[in-house]
Amino acid sequence: MYGYRARIGYCSPPVVTEVFVYEFYKMAPPGVTLLLTTLEVGLEYTQQAFDGSHDRSLEAAKYMAGAGADVVVLGGNPVNQSRGIENLPGICEDLSAEIGTKVVASTLCQKEAMEKLGVKKVASAHASGAQHNDRHAKQMENMGFESVGVTSLEGHKLLAYGKIPTEAAFDVAKQLKDAHPEADCIHLASAHWPTAHAIDRIENELGVSVMNSQQAIVWKAFRTAGITEPIEGFGRLFREF
């Protein structure tokens, strides 16, 4: 079968998923596959969408476990954090015990990635509009890291993240680093806009670590599933840890 080394289940919050799958297969070695279920986050980030997505994640996780997934990722930092970050380890453990498959959550993947990278001061870029800057800063503080700045690409609704040009990730990272030179990490938030290709370039040219949501999720899922080899081209995280 295609997933002869590992089969990764991912509960994908956006109601339409495009970029995540594309970039997953740029990163994954042969024999590692993705099982995907789309959830309910659409044009607005509402508690109702978060609740609905969380509930559907639990159902999807059961299905994925039944299909033979080696690990299931509960996607969506905002969805995860809506349950309370302190509750996430328990949610993962309980679900894992119930379905008989390892379970990780996006928020915890990102937290662990930043811990591995040894970062302290994080500047975040996202694409959900400046009105979400405070939420992103709070989410970073919740994970235990200092948020030194947040900026947003403008003009891109979540459903249209696939229309963000590939140059945007580097450009916005450079703007962030110029504005916040004290940052030791650029966080490209959300796993659903094109970022994977930019990670090495940002690290090399701007002299920072990069933690991108998609990269952190895939990295933690691989490592949890026993895919432990260093992977080149997508930052220190994949290469060194």
């Binding site: 079968m1 295609y2 997933g3 089969r7 289940g9 109601v15 339409v16 998923t17 495009e18 970029v19 799958v21 594309y22 297969y25 596959t33 993705l34 099982l35 995907l36 279920t37 789309t38 659409g42 044009l43 999807a60 299905y63 994925m64 039944g66 299909a67 033979g68 459903l159 249209a160 696939g162 229309k163 963000i164 040009p165 590939t166 140059e167 580097f170 094109p194 290709h197």
Partner: protein
Amino acid sequence: MNWGQIHGHRARIGYTVAAVTTEVYPIDWYRIVPDGVSLMMITLPLGDRSEKDVEKCYAISIEAAHTMARAGADLVLLGGLPINISKGDDTVEGLMAKLESEIGVKMSCSALAQVRAFAALGSKKVAVVHPFLADQNPRHERTIADFFGLDPVGVHAGGSSLVALGTLAPQCALDWGRAAMAAHPEADTIYFGCPHWTVIDAIQPLEDEFGVNVMTSLQAIAWDAMRQTGVEDRIDGFGRLLKEF
């Protein structure tokens, strides 16, 4: 890397996946399509194929077409032939036209993609291979005869289940295709139903070995999606359909 492009710089195809979770489909999609053709997916809660499930998925598919249009798809293709035709064989084209006028984006569906693929290949006598239990055989025979208007010369059931499709090896399609041809040598086309198991590596070997057409759901969907969006590339390795039409 062209830093000014989006991943789907040639075409972005919205596709409703008739499965709770999808694994094989995007892998095979990206093996077939050229660079710049991207796949946008919404998964549907098709569990045990009950009437209730199909009804629910039909309604969600319509809503999904609107969502895909808002997300900027160049074409929306509704997956799941049984869902497409669940309101009657003669309702499919009308639904596509209605949705197209509502959302302002080209529409297609699995059922129509396969109608066009059979027509392009000139198929008449069809041996069906599907991965499920034999209790699905009558449904497949009926669809070939009644919806596609072709002669179903026989059906081979692989004996697997929806939840186990990702565990099937590529060899299964090859073996089952050979078994279908051994049992029904009069077939001019082998048709592999369901796009969620790995079939594409069997297409060319079976066409070469038996001198027949091989048409698969996923191959037909990818072909139709590309041709409807102006991607006219002729693609080698996955059968006559993608190479000649």
